[in-house]
Symmetry: C2
Subunit: 353 residues, 2 copies
């Protein structure tokens, strides 16, 4: 592996001094870029795009050609694992993912096993290897997975959901089966992330997109516990133990203290949390990633600069901050405004280091 030419992200995640705050953007490889839409069309479908390593590499690198971002993030999907388990994933434009099969009973669960990452998700590992080669140490590569709870919601509902009636119903109707599914997912995700690390990713992030739908009592038992299992597994591997792990629960602002206690290196914040408050609460234990409101990017470079300044100011002086949005970028955003964002972070953050 070539030494990283830009290691700001790694240093910030380790809470070490940096010259300026590193920045990357959730869904930075995505529909707001015309070149992405072209490659996506060429692939024929979203799933095919994820499954073709050369095309996944191409879209991963596209935002880095435009913007001086401090990290690349593997282009993939959080639902590769249940797809590898045989659930039959398809993604319909503007409707989201669909599975052919759903998991709602112990019988359904009994048919599933832990996928072998190299054998059954080899296209992801191949993508990581190609991207690493192309990056040639320019910036770190972030690998990722969905959280057990978040992936489970799709496996149980069979599609995106607003209320999670089946998945949340299972908490109270059949917690044993749900725990079995979550444990299977935690083991599968651990193997998957360790394989991504073997293939070359420098950081891993777990996206708990739907943890915020859980009750205060259910969150630690049905989501956080299984993210902790993943952190433990990764940190016990000699190859993976030094790789920073970021946990991000959207809507998890009430639970920062619990999240910071599971052994992760960094906590992702959505825009509902004041990042200064979060730093005072957990900044002694973890780095923080976030948390500009995505909607700021609908405005103009001047306004974007002002709001970037507000987030930097709220975090304050010192290390341990990775700049990002509070959630993914939207397809309607003008790439020029993303350029303004990245430049503003780099320029304005110098004074804080």
């Amino acid at each position: 592996m070539p030494k990283l030419k830009n290691d700001r992200l790694i240093r910030a995640l380790q809470r070490k001094p940096v010259d300026m705050t590193p920045v990357w953007i959730m869904r930075q490889a995505g529909r707001y870029l015309p070149e992405y839409r072209k490659t996506r069309e060429q692939a024929g479908s979203f799933v095919k795009l994820c499954q073709t390593p050369e095309l996944a590499c191409e879209v991963t690198l596209q935002p880095l050609r435009r913007f001086p971002l401090d990290a690349a993030i593997l282009f993939s999907d959080i639902l590769t694992i249940p797809d590898a388990m045989g659930l039959g994933l398809s993604v319909v434009e503007k409707q989201g993912p669909r599975f052919e099969k759903v998991i709602r009973s112990q019988d359904d669960l009994n048919k599933l096993g832990v996928p072998d990452p190299e054998a059954e998700l080899g296209y992801v590992m191949d993508a990581v290897r190609i991207i690493k080669q192309e990056l040639d140490g320019k910036v770190p590569l972030i690998g990722f997975a969905g959280s057990p709870w978040t992936i489970a919601t799709y496996m149980i509902e069979g599609a995106s959901s607003k209320e999670f009636s089946h998945a949340k119903g299972m908490i109270y109707q059949d917690p044993k089966t749900l725990h079995g599914l979550l444990d299977l997912l935690a083991r599968s995700i651990s193997e998957y992330l360790k394989a991504q690390i073997s293939a070359g990713v420098n950081v891993v992030m777990v996206f708990d997109s739907w943890g915020g739908a859980l009750s205060d009592a259910s969150y630690p038992e049905f989501s956080l516990q299984y993210m902790q299992q993943i952190v433990n597994e990764v940190k016990q591997s000699s190859e993976a133990k030094d790789i920073p792990v970021i946990l991000f629960t959207k809507g998890g602002g009430m639970w920062l203290d619990q999240i910071a206690n599971v052994g992760c290196d960094a906590v992702g914040l959505d825009w509902g949390v004041n990042i200064g408050y979060a730093r005072r609460k957990i900044g002694d234990r973890v780095a923080l990633q976030g948390n500009l409101d995505t909607a700021v990017l609908y405005s103009n470079p001047e306004r974007i600069r002002e709001e970037v300044g507000n987030v930097l100011h709220a975090y304050g002086h010192g290390d341990g901050h990775v700049f990002n949005l509070g959630h993914g970028i939207h397809p309607e955003i003008d790439p020029e405004n993303v350029a303004a964002l990245v430049d503003a972070v780099h320029e304005l953050s110098v004074d804080y280091h």
Copy 2:
């Protein structure tokens, strides 16, 4: 007005002693009841059901015939006000509301005025009067409105939304127009709630369903400020000043302290907040309403009883608690389980008073 035979709700909202914890359920008049679906069909459309006082009265009373609830809540919709402003509301089953016109500029806004509640929303006031007559003081009647921000999202987007691109974009692109719209809505909602109070409601609640989509910095400026304006207006009216006001921001667990400071009598909690934590934080200033996870109702009476016990225990001994779900009941819930919930609250809460 007849004296209330059951005033537990009012007393709990005033943090006065009660014999047992009062309970009502968000969307208690709704699709989970077969008799509701029948009346809804008879009306022809959801909007017609809201606009026909006799039918709105009928569905308001339906859950009270089944369960010993401690309150009725007016059957209506949060979008009656923009409909009265001329935006042309329709509600498509399973797709949600749609407006013919959207508000995205100062020009659009200039065409709108504050609706006269009796003249333009008379069907709501008529419904209140009929319901009050039918209730004959059995339990209090709760009136309600959407929050300015929540109603504004529909007026700007033209429909339900996941990302609120236009509404949230306006925060950063054209805050002046957005503030103008929010102020117009706050004035309209104040008049509307005062008219509901004149017509006979005993409590009013403001539903800020989408406040949780705002950033930590935007929430006080674009949502809470305008709810405060409404509280002030209601409390300044000699007729309305003793009517308890409940504010409910879904996803607002990070902002409890701010919400409790605007002069409302009670704060509604979703299930993401521990109600014991909320009580320690703001229970010296306001009553609390909530916050059972709706998904508990997918289980069975025994499990429901256990979870009701957990919420009561988390709140603890003493007054100031109104039991409710953390958000609305789902259409798939078995009414038998609602009966179990209501009974469990009454039976188990006696020990806490």
